[in-house]
Symmetry: C2
Subunit: 319 residues, 2 copies
């Protein structure tokens, strides 16, 4: 066996600032050759591509490429590339990312549960008025998507006291959390959900799933006066015209959205100013180089020592 | 031993609506004689007083009284009564109350940690701008008061990922949480605190403790740009003129207040409109009759069967 010279890393982070990623790679593996897109002096030596929104056609040119590492939780844009090489794709599975997402999900669920938007309006008007407050165990939170992010959020929300259920494509099992799976169980899951949290991957099956037909199946008899949507998954999951209509018609009584069909969200979108709708700019769980790079470098070292790669994307499921 | 006829309950709930409390008592112990202040037809038969802000002089008139049950977490107003009989006082220690308080504390800590007020302002102006976000483990939360409420909040905040410490009068021990105790350790505790959560009881020692001298001892070099105050203990703990000055001078960069020196908060108070100050109307943890009454009735039954009362107020500590 000859010496394998394709051990260089290619970093391609689209519109992000590459500098902190470069610093984290150099700190974690100073000896590793590194090329930063759009500089690609020796494509044949690239063994590993670390990517966020890689430009079209780049990956297919790398003759020595052995694995692709996604730097964000969703791989839908990567998977959509028509010339994506048939190589292992490693998802980011990282406790830092899960913790950040759980912070955002817990914050948004509590904002709606504790009627913080109404208290904000009262504060602005200097009104002192206590609102009727259900206990957390009267409020049914339903989490769509029970990957690493969904499971972590589910466990913390359960610990806070909510009545938590989850729905996923494949069967899951979480202590003290009702787990539904598959298309047949979806309606039952929705019918027992007051606050719907979407942490689904974007696939052909889930695109546009967060629309009016789904919203109408949520519990309308809950203690919050109607159902609430929280989406931190992908913008392509949601139909924004349906969300606007559902809020205006009272089918939904509130929403928190971190992702949108098109980003940045159009300044003219009615979503910005709807009552009880919280908008954040795709900020729920930022990919942090200091947290994400060390486990990737560790995986590369183990792979070069003959160990299998972990957290691989399922090509058929597309996530 | 003669038959003890003083087994009636007196319910005295001040300005609250007595109806749900009466309903909960009747549901839990239908045979128990019940008198509801200001009706007090047979004072000598009252064995147990269930009180929130009892009127002056009432308790001293009850010759058969055996125990006083406080219906809210703070007993400072009860203890301040000059003619309070020297009888056992039972504090409310209840998982429902602790859960509700933890919801509020976690919500407020996350609002400041995740810069939700800034995102709210950006949303109102239709501005899409991601803010730099520290990880939870970079943010040091310090909880003053490690009773049932403080401990529950500390554990959930730790699970979310914050670097949590606690300070209490007496030594405490919580897994993975740095526990400080006593006056000598207070400055060290404050110096490592970015978000200060007050769940202290109001006693002669703690009155006015949340003032400018304490705020100036908090960490000023943290990832939030300065320290934040979260007070859900008692209004008497805080000096509101100092909070206003501290926010205006940048000694504090934010605050969440549920309690005030005088309630309702004066509509003219500058607190209502200070930036990054969240005001809620003493709504953090409402006393819920359905949750609080059953364990009280259970304690009364066990006491009548010869068992000791639990969760007694320490008369010397005054909480």
């Amino acid at each position: 066996m000859g010496v394998d010279t394709a051990r260089s890393i290619l970093l391609a982070v689209g519109s992000w600032d590459p500098e902190p990623w470069v610093a984290a790679i150099r700190a974690g593996d100073p000896e590793r050759p590194l090329q930063v897109w759009p500089d690609l002096p020796v494509p044949s030596t690239v063994g590993y591509a670390l990517v966020w929104e890689p430009p079209q056609g780049v990956l297919a040119r790398l003759s020595g490429l052995k694995a692709i590492f996604s730097l964000c939780a969703g791989v839908d844009r990567l998977m959509a590339q028509p010339d994506l090489p048939y190589l292992p794709i490693v998802r980011v599975v990282n406790s830092d990312l899960a913790r950040r997402m759980t912070e955002w999900v817990v914050l948004q669920v509590l904002i709606h549960h504790r009627r913080q938007r109404t208290y904000d309006r009262q504060q602005a008007a200097r009104i002192w008025k206590e609102l009727r407050q259900p206990a957390a165990d009267e409020v049914r939170v339903g989490i769509m998507g029970l990957g690493v992010l969904g499971r972590d959020a589910a466990i913390v929300l359960r610990r806070i006291g909510f009545d938590v259920a989850g729905w996923s494509r494949r069967p899951a099992n979480l202590p003290d959390i009702a787990c539904f799976h598959g298309p047949d169980a979806l309606d039952r899951f929705l019918a027992r959900t007051d606050i719907l949290v979407s942490l689904l991957p974007l696939t052909p099956q889930t695109r546009g799933i967060l629309g009016i037909r789904l919203f109408e199946k949520l519990a309308s008899d809950g203690p919050l006066g109607g159902p609430v949507l929280v989406n931190a998954g992908r913008g392509g999951l949601q139909v924004e015209a349906d969300i606007i209509a559902a809020i205006e018609q009272g089918v939904l009584v509130g929403a928190s959205l971190d992702v949108f069909e098109s980003e940045p969200l159009d300044p003219k979108s009615p979503l910005w100013s709807l009552p009880n709708v919280v908008i954040t700019p795709h900020a729920a769980a930022a990919s942090e180089p200091k947290a994400l790079i060390p486990p990737i470098l560790d995986q590369i070292r183990k792979f070069e020592a003959g160990k299998p790669l972990r957290n691989l994307v399922d090509r058929d499921a597309m996530y």
